[in-house]
Symmetry: C2
Subunit: 395 residues, 2 copies
């Protein structure tokens, strides 16, 4: 006789899922919603109160002694969120509802390798916690996004092209030993998709987040869930061939890839070939903002190439929002105008009926918000809360 | 004080989910798995026994009176599955575990419109139920796949290009009145993806099912879930532009679409232009099977164009299986050889590490199996089973 792997469906963790929306509820509400007995609910509320994740409030009342209501306390624990880019490092402390409590951003070259970079993460993280006066025991978990594919089961980067010395590095283990809490590692653009989705488009089922910076990558939300793919390699938009595009050689060994013609790297190369003094994507953005016609025309062309690839994504995934982030999205509407032009010409009318193509609204914080979201979901999952409650049961 | 929309998590329906795998379980097993009290489990088992969805078996025992075990009975109710193509109609009766009990396939022109076609569905369905000796009360639901986009909330086709007279038709309402049970309407290729996935690749998280017939379409499974998209239009592979492809005009109004160069329709046109007497995709398959060099070369080229588009899908979705179905997949390995050649050349090594590109294994039944699966999931969902059990409680 087989015993199903289905976990026990009852426990304090289940009750917390109902309270996570932040609305206060009386014991009678929780009895009504769950169908559990009043005594069962009572003992589970007591367990949640001991974890600190739920606290009591006095309900407003028109007379007599007001009944108690119970409410999720997102500030009970905090999350350390890390966004590691090719040349920057952002670290933030968030509460369990995703509110940023403190944040630092600094220059950091990922090519220096894991030892110095993760030491830097540790140092900045401790500084932020100290600044907030939160002891190490308040930390619930660490979430970190890295600019390469990540194996979901182990949290290790797999042959990441722009992260020399990081292949197979046990980021989870290293940061776990430093902070003594669960560590979740993900691809940076995947976390940006989760962050932008949760903060700005919580009602949207199908969303594509595209980062256009030195390289080009995407994070896919389908059925309100992140699509990481079999090997954590989903969303690799940069190496999709551009239909009708130029057969430019790409660093991946193929030719005609989107990244070879429409990325910040490609625009820097094109502008330098034309005699402009530019070194980074940010320089390209500056030129466009100053009204440089050549840079503006190149950016709009990059938008058209992006649009040719996005049109295929629209036919394939039928999203209702495409959000463009990354440094090149900061150069005004030129990139988006080119992309919209081709997507609306190329895609079938039904698939674009409800489609918005917009710039990211989270001001460079999407990755941090996404890291906060995955860690909160992990540490507030029913089984994790049950375990926490069990550990704090008085003997 | 808000009451969460979360449904009651306890009830006989919850218990059935554990039993759906078909393994027999004793009462003690169910107590252990759910954490519920023995009396609670007892009353829920009684409720399930009354629905007929669960029956009692005597457990094998080495001595003494053997204890009872409880087992899901997939034959308790049946599902009517319908696969409507451009020129065919398949109808089958399946049990709740997806086993085909009876099946009919006939020629049927979808352009005749909903009245005659749905009357035909009704007639064939009744015949199959009569042949099996199953009364109308045994029917749990109807699932139907149609060759066009379907609005999920209403089950109505939306501007389906190859289904004249069907735009906005209330298929759900018409068949619901005929059969008196819930009706689920879906895109045909989406159901094929679900059918092939459930029957052949249940362990796979990310799968793409591609139908190459008169037209070309795809069904996407990501995170083990079907991706229908915002408007039910996801998987529209036929109108993705082929990178490096010929700028052939497509019936959609664009040029360079995959369907314009690699579909059965495109091959028929190309062979007729070369003087061959072919009328349908099946004629093309016959020519290839007879060893016609021109037809074989064209089919392999079609495979390469398909591969150029699939390479983008692989970069985007990182599936571990691409399954090619539809009539052109029956012409041996030529189509697949062309597709594999380009996918493995074009996609990044990480994304193809675990990728299989194979022909469909369900012998034209994928759509029927998928329809059976969505209906079984619908009628066996916890809330539906709870309602069924409540309706049969003795007063």
């Amino acid at each position: 006789m087989a015993v199903s792997p289905t976990s026990r469906t009852t426990g304090p963790g289940e009750l917390l899922q109902i309270l996570r929306d932040g609305a206060p509820r009386a014991r009678a509400d929780l009895v009504a919603v769950t169908g559990h007995a009043r005594t069962t609910i009572g003992s589970r509320i007591d367990a949640l109160l001991r974890t600190g994740l739920v606290r009591t409030e006095a309900a407003s009342s028109t007379g007599g002694r007001p009944p108690s209501v119970y409410v999720f306390d997102p500030g009970a624990r905090v999350v350390l969120a890390v966004d590691l880019g090719a040349v920057h490092l952002s670290v933030a402390v968030l509460d369990l509802a995703g509110t940023v409590l403190a944040e630092e951003r600094t220059v950091c070259d990922i090519a220096e390798g894991p030892d110095p970079v993760l030491a830097h993460v540790n140092e900045l993280g401790q500084q932020l916690l100290d600044r907030l006066g939160r002891p190490a025991t308040d930390l619930a978990g660490v979430g970190i996004g890295v600019p390469g594919p990540v194996q979901q089961t182990t949290g290790r980067p797999i042959t990441p092209p722009i992260m020399p010395h990081w292949d197979g590095v046990d980021i989870k283990g290293i940061l776990g030993r430093q902070f003594g809490v669960p560590v979740l590692v993900d691809n940076d653009v995947d976390l940006m998709a989760l962050g932008e989705h949760g903060a700005v488009y919580p009602e949207v089922s199908h969303l594509l987040f595209v980062k256009v910076a030195t390289g080009i990558g995407a994070g896919i939300i389908a059925n309100r869930t992140l699509v990481r793919g079999t090997d954590g390699a989903a969303g690799d938009l940069g190496h999709v061939a551009v239909p009708g595009g130029r057969a430019e050689l790409c660093h991946c060994g193929n030719s005609g890839c989107l990244e070879a013609v429409a990325s910040g790297g490609a625009l820097v190369r094109a502008l330098r070939a034309a005699g402009e003094e530019v070194a980074t994507s940010a320089d390209v953005v500056d030129l466009v903002r100053r009204g440089d016609q050549r840079a503006t025309a190149l950016l709009r062309d990059a938008g058209r190439d992006l649009g040719a690839v996005l049109a295929g994504c629209v036919n394939l995934l039928n999203p209702s929002a495409i959000v463009i982030g990354g440094v090149l999205a900061q150069a005004g509407e030129h990139l988006l105008a080119g992309a919209r032009e081709v997507v609306y010409r190329r895609s079938l009318p039904l698939a674009t009926k409800q489609l918005r193509i917009v710039t990211a609204s989270t001001a460079g914080r999407a990755g941090l918000l996404g890291a906060g979201r995955v860690v909160a979901d992990h540490v507030l999952a029913p089984a994790a809360v049950d375990a926490l409650a069990a550990a704090q049961t008085p003997v």
